[in-house]
Symmetry: C2
Subunit: 99 residues, 2 copies
């Protein structure tokens, strides 16, 4: 099989991250609240440094779960897309005016 492109590689990485954290309980196709918490703690080390860790973590938890008990892959991808858009804007601002 030919090497995946950078874009296909990123897409497969996202599938892999979701499957890894969703797979820790019997419901393999959704993230429970506990799985969302573990994912946030493990997968957003740099986002968590953008402010008060507890606050950013709570915000990411709220964003990722949208108040739902279970987060499916569609919801996960919507939140990842939102965070990527926010992240790009933050990077561009930091580049535009470095402290």
């Amino acid at each position: 099989m030919e090497q995946p492109s950078a874009l296909e590689g990123a897409m497969m990485l996202l599938m892999g991250v979701f499957n890894k954290y969703a797979g820790t309980d019997e419901r393999k196709d959704t993230l429970s609240k506990a799985e969302v918490k573990t994912l946030v703690e493990k997968e957003f080390p740099h986002f968590l440094q953008l402010g008060d860790k507890k606050e950013v973590e709570a915000m990411l938890m709220e964003l990722m779960s949208q108040g739902d008990q279970e987060v499916d892959f569609c919801q996960f991808m919507c939140q990842v897309a939102t965070l990527t858009i926010i992240g790009k804007a933050i990077f561009e601002q930091l580049e535009a005016c470095p402290q």
Copy 2:
């Protein structure tokens, strides 16, 4: 700087892919039709093998541009999220019933 996580790495990869293809003309923050075409040809080698190449390419072009002359990062991320959701469903079907 600490290594990014898999999720953060995928998010940064997506930013990099967009910037690479959006940066080839004077409008660096949007993808023109020509830039979308190059991105589709170069970044979806495995998607293009899922059917008739010309058809899949036309479908991806239509999906990525949504009929717009210019595609911004938000639109790009929406389409990548959509394609990742579709891609995961395809992989799961292929795993469930390999030919």
